[in-house]
Every structure is written in C-alpha cells, then in structure tokens.
C-alpha cells in the first residue's frame, strides 16, 4: 500500500464530503437530531399519567388515598366523576389513561376487616404505558396500605418493631434512579454510528460509478486496497468526531453519567465503525448505485442495531431463539460496551468479551471488504 496515493484518496474523499450538502447534513446534523429525538422521544418511563377518579364513598379514608395519587409525580388527577359511565367514557375518549374507582364501603371494610380493594381501570392500548401505570398505581396503593396498617397496629397498642413485615430494600447500581434515559442514550451512540457510517460509506464506490469517474480512476496505478483504505479513513475520523459529539451531548445536555474510560470508548467505537464502514463499502461495490446502496446499507446496519442490539429492548427479555440470534449481531457488543462505559466505570480490561467479539467482526469484514472491489469495468 502506497501511503501517498492512499492519502491523496483520503484528501479527495474528504473534500467531496465537505462540498456535498447531503453528506454534510449526515455528518453534522444527523447525530444531534438523532440523539435529541431518542433522548426525548424514546423514554420508556411515564410521568404525569392522566387519571380520573370515581369516589363512591367520599370519606376521609377515600380522600386520603386519592391525595396519595395526587401527590405522586407519576399521576395527574385531572377530574373526579360521579358515575361509572362517565369514567368509561373518559377512557374511551382518551382523556385519561387510568381510572380509579373507590367503592362505597371502602372505609367500612377497611375498619372492619382491614381488607378492602379499589378498582383501577387501565387503558391498555399502549402496552408499555399500561404496565407502567399499573405498576405505579400498585405502588401508590401499597404505600397507603402500609400506612393504614401501621396506624392500625399503633391503635391496638402493638409495637411497631414486632409487627413491621419483612421488606426488601432494593438498591440499583449504575442507573440508581432507574431512569430510562440513562439506559437509552448510551445506545443511541451506536445508532448514530450505524446510520452515519452506513449512509456515507455506501455512497463512496457507487458515487464514482454514477458520476463516471471510476473508469479513469481504475486506469491509474492506484490499487484496490488503496482505494478502500483511502476512502474509508475520512469516514472513520468523522465517525469518531461524531461519537465524541454524541457523548458530550449525552453528558452535557441529558445528564447521563460517563464513568468509564475514554480509551475504551474510542476503541469500541473504532472497531464498530470498521465493521459498519466495511459493510457499507461492500454494498457500495455490489450495487454501483448510490440510492440502492444507501437503502441496503441501512437495512443491514440500522435495523439490527435498533432492534437486536439491546439498545432499547433488553436482550434478556427476548424469546430464546431471538436471544440466540443477537449473539450474531455485531451491534449488540458495541451497545453492551457503550452502556457499561457510560454507566459503570468499565475500562478496556472490563470489556474483553465485547472487544474480542468486535475485533473478530472487524477482521472478518475487513478481509472480505479488501477483496470486494476489482479494478475492472466488467
């Protein structure tokens, strides 16, 4: 490989990106738009769930329970209705996601047997929100119930010490507040890298064919390897710059912690980019058309990265056959590495399995990429 020819190729490619508005948008705006959209839009936690209540009793006890709902940051008690039909209509009309029905004998049964129940009607059209609403509602009721229980014990003179039931204290490490943004945003770096890398690299060879510059290029002494390396190096550099931008944005704007090593971050990103750029390059060689190449490239890079990498959907919650497939998805190792680098204090030595897997992918893809292009019109 001749360094001067490779450098000339890189310089040319970089100048072309700099002068191409489409490429500039991909390089400069796409990462920011992507991280903003996903940072704000793809949150999996729910806040301010709209709630309607139907208090059939109207006692002190029932009001106390509703106050507990009102006090919760997860719920907004919008309206109290006075009949069941109004509640059903509100859910049908999507005015609320949750309806709480307190029965007419609520406090009576609470005082009598210490056992009572309230009804929660959840709008299940959005499964994820429904589950969250249900969980939060249970938590609110459980807190209320244990307060009632403590009161009851106190009233009958039983010592709190003796009767407090066993409870488990959970402590979540690395994402203490269980905020979904901390879970999602590190993974978006992988999404941005896949999207940007695939879009740019899939154009490189196809552009030369479409603009008619390939014929003259392959009549020169430049080798296929020099063309490949020369063309992809600028995109690797741009990719690393964009990854840095994303990380700075994740920490500075969204307040996601970055506890691991930056060396590990750049190593993992470089390996991932080699795989993405190699795939994009091979597709560009195969299709010879910019539009076709970019679409295929998105299909084979972005799709697995968004669906099967554990970026948003946890891998250990997938069915076993799909979970098995994810071991073949190169993005899974990068997403896993990213999450650990951001949230735990992982350095390179903590990421050996991920780094090894990605190195193998980079070598295999790199090997096939060097053989993909032939300097011939046929």
């Amino acid at each position: 490989m001749n360094l001067r020819r490779t450098a000339a190729m890189s310089r040319k490619e970089f100048t072309q990106v700099r002068r191409d508005p489409y490429s500039l948008i991909v390089v400069l705006f796409l990462p920011l738009v992507q991280i903003l959209l996903l940072g704000y839009g793809a949150r999996l936690d729910a806040n301010h769930i709209p709630v309607y209540v139907l208090d059939q009793e109207g006692s002190q006890d029932s009001q106390a329970l509703l106050k507990a709902f009102q006090a919760s940051p997860y719920f907004d008690v919008i309206k109290a209705v006075d009949n069941y039909h109004a509640l059903v209509r509100a859910i049908d009309a999507d005015q609320c996601k949750l309806g709480i029905v307190i029965p007419w004998d609520f406090s009576e049964r609470l005082a009598d047997a210490g056992r009572t129940s309230v009804q929660a009607i959840v709008d299940g059209t959005d499964d994820n929100s429904a589950q969250l609403a249900e969980g939060y509602a249970q938590a609110v009721v459980a807190t209320y119930a244990s307060n009632v229980q403590l009161d009851w014990f106190a009233r009958y003179g039983l010592s709190q010490q003796a009767t407090t039931p066993l409870s488990v204290d959970y402590r979540t490490w690395f994402n203490e507040d269980l905020e979904s943004k901390n879970f999602i945003i590190p993974g978006t770096v992988a999404l941005v890298m896949a999207l940007m890398g695939a879009l740019l690299s899939s154009l490189t060879i196809a552009r030369e064919w479409e603009r008619g510059t390939m014929e003259q290029l392959i009549a020169t002494p430049v080798t296929a390897l020099e063309i490949m390396v020369g063309k992809l190096v600028p995109y690797l550099a741009i990719g690393l710059a964009d990854a840095t931008l994303c990380a700075v944005f994740a920490v500075g704007w969204f307040g996601v912690p970055f506890r691991g090593g930056s060396g590990a971050f750049f190593l993992a990103t470089t390996l991932f980019l080699i795989v993405i750029l190699g795939i994009g390059y091979m597709i560009s060689v195969a299709t010879k058309s910019q539009l076709g190449a970019s679409q295929y490239a998105l299909l084979v890079t972005l799709l697995p990265t968004s669906m099967l990498s554990g970026f948003a959907f946890p891998i250990d919650q997938m069915p076993a056959p799909i979970r098995a497939i994810t071991y073949l998805v190169y993005s899974r190792y990068y997403v896993s590495a990213l999450k650990r680098i951001f949230l735990s204090s992982a350095g390179i030595s903590d990421l050996v399995p991920e780094v090894v897997a990605m190195t193998i992918y980079a070598l295999v893809i790199g090997f096939f990429a060097t053989r993909a292009f032939h300097k011939s019109l046929q």
């Binding site: 008619g212 003259q216 080798t223």
Partner: protein, 313 residues
C-alpha cells in the same frame, strides 16, 4: 520492432452475442499519433478500454512496452494515461485539486508537478481557472483539464477516447498542438475520432467497422482507396435517386444520407453532367448537385461495399 510501443494481435471481445472487437491487429510506434476512426459502435471505445487495462478481453494479445496487458493489466498503468470519452474527473473538485490528485496517484514529485501544472494550464489557456470547480467548466475546458490530468506524469502511451467530441474549434486546435508537442517528446498517442479532418492529422489510421479492422495505414493511403470523388445530390426522394444512379457507368457506390445522396464516381466532372441528364430523362426530382470533399463516412461506405463485393466473389 523495439520502437513498437503497442502491439495488438487477434484481439477479440464479446458482450453476449455481440462481437464488439473482432480479431483486431495493429501496432503503434514510439512517437506517433495513431487515429482510431470509425462510426459509433465500431468498437473503438472497447478497444481503447482493453488497451488501458480496465476491461478484460476474450482472446488475443496486447503488448504495451512489451508487457502483456491482458495478463497483468496493473503493470502498465504507471506508464500510460487514459482519458475516457465521458468526462471522468471530479466535478466537485477544483481544477488544481484534480491535477494534484492525479499527480499524487502517479507519484509525481512536487516540483515536477508545479512545473507541469503551470505549463499545461498555460498551453490550454486555463491558468485563470485553477480554483474553479471542474463541474463549472465548459465542455472544451473539461477536455483540456482531462488532458492536463492525463499528462501530469509523463506517460509513454496516451490513450484518448474521442477527446474533441463537443469541443469548440479553438480548444480543438489547442488540443492538437499539445498532442504534437507530446509526440515531439517521444510519447505515443492513440486517439479515437469520428472526424475525418482530425484523422488527417494522425500519422497513421486504423479504420474500424463492426469490431473489425477495415484499413490500417497512413491518411494518404486511405484517400487512395477512394478512386474518384464524391458527388452530393439533394432530393425530396433520395431513394428514387439511388435507384436511378445504380448501375450507371462510372458510379462506384451510392448512399442516402438524410435528404441527400452521396455518390462515389470515377471522374466527377464527366459524371456530373451525365447524372443530371439521367435524372432529367427519368423525371426524378433533384435539387443541388455538386462535388464535395470525401468524408470519413464516404470512405467507409466505399471500403465496406468493396469488401462485400470481395467477400461475394
């Protein structure tokens, strides 16, 4: 033999059923301009692509400076320059950036590059456009930039595919003067063209038709193949004229070209009057009847008709 830079023997290239180049043989000497002449589809571009090492062939031998191009196309690439018919430079790079790119690819030293860049841009009247994007150049200037990029290193062989198509007369003249100065330096030039006036500027010509070699020799030898001159006769019905002239004494061939008929005759002065009388007698409508200089097409038609007669007999 040692001064033969290009030796082609039995070169054949098929695209499916079509034989684009059919057992083509020719050679080119050091410091000569060899013109590849023929109509569209004659196989000129395919032949040049094979010589440039960008297209594999099906049969034959191509030696450039003694190296086997079909076996090892990469070996000769540093010794040749190829300019395809279509503008093949980067339109989003400036003139200077394009030249620099090719200089780097051919590993031209910095001082040589600057010297040659100045010289080439000067010769083609493009010094003012150094920082202009190649895409914003006129057709003629694009060609000249292509030549400048092709000549930024010193090739032993320059392959040009229709470099003057769509180029204004001034740029064409500049282009040819650059080619002559190259030949003076000992560079061999293979240039394809569809213009007969340009064919006459070449040292030797290779006439191609349907992938075959029709003629290989000097322009004078080519002209000698046309025994006589060409008459052009305009008419609302060239087909009727053609029927009328066929078999007339002294008529060697006749071809309808649009709304005129080109007739190759042995003695133009005598046949002019003869044909006019014939048309008037046969009541075939005709307009202007005059002698014209032979075009490459006329020579072709004649050579082809001769060949077909030879093959027939």
């Amino acid at each position: 033999m040692s001064d033969e830079i290009v030796q082609v023997d039995g070169l054949t290239k098929r695209f499916g059923e079509v034989v684009a180049v059919n057992s083509l043989s020719f050679n080119a000497r050091k410091g000569e301009i060899l013109g590849l002449v023929g109509p569209d589809g004659a196989g000129k571009t395919t032949a040049l692509r094979i010589l440039a090492g960008v297209l594999p062939a099906d049969a034959g031998v191509v030696l450039i400076t003694g190296q086997d191009v079909l076996r090892q196309p990469e070996v000769i690439k540093s010794r040749i320059s190829y300019m395809p018919q279509q503008f093949g430079l980067y339109e989003d790079l400036t003139v200077a950036e394009n030249i620099r790119f090719y200089a780097d690819i051919f590993e031209v030293s910095r001082t040589v590059r600057q010297q040659r860049e100045d010289q080439l841009l000067e010769a083609s009247g493009m010094s003012r456009f150094r920082d202009r994007l190649a895409g914003q150049l006129s057709g003629g200037m694009k060609r000249k930039l292509g030549i400048a990029c092709a000549l930024i290193h010193t090739p032993q062989l320059l392959l040009l595919d229709e470099p003057t198509t769509g180029v204004d007369p001034v740029s064409r003249r500049e282009l040819w003067s650059i080619l002559y100065s190259l030949v003076f330096e000992g560079v061999t030039v293979l240039v394809s063209t569809a213009y007969l006036d340009e064919a006459e500027r070449c040292h030797r010509l290779l006439l191609m038709h349907q992938g075959r070699r029709l003629f290989f020799g000097t322009p004078d030898e080519l002209k000698n193949m046309l025994p006589g001159a060409v008459l052009s006769i305009s008419s609302p019905d060239p087909q009727a004229l053609q029927t009328a002239v066929t078999g007339e004494q002294g008529v060697l061939s006749a071809t309808a070209m649009g709304d005129v008929l080109h007739v190759v005759v042995d003695d133009p002065d005598r046949r002019l009057a003869q044909l006019r009388a014939k048309f008037e007698h046969a009541e075939v409508p005709f307009g202007e009847l005059r002698r014209i200089p032979a075009s490459v097409e006329d020579v072709f038609v004649y050579v082809i008709s001769q060949q077909e007669t030879e093959q027939g007999s």
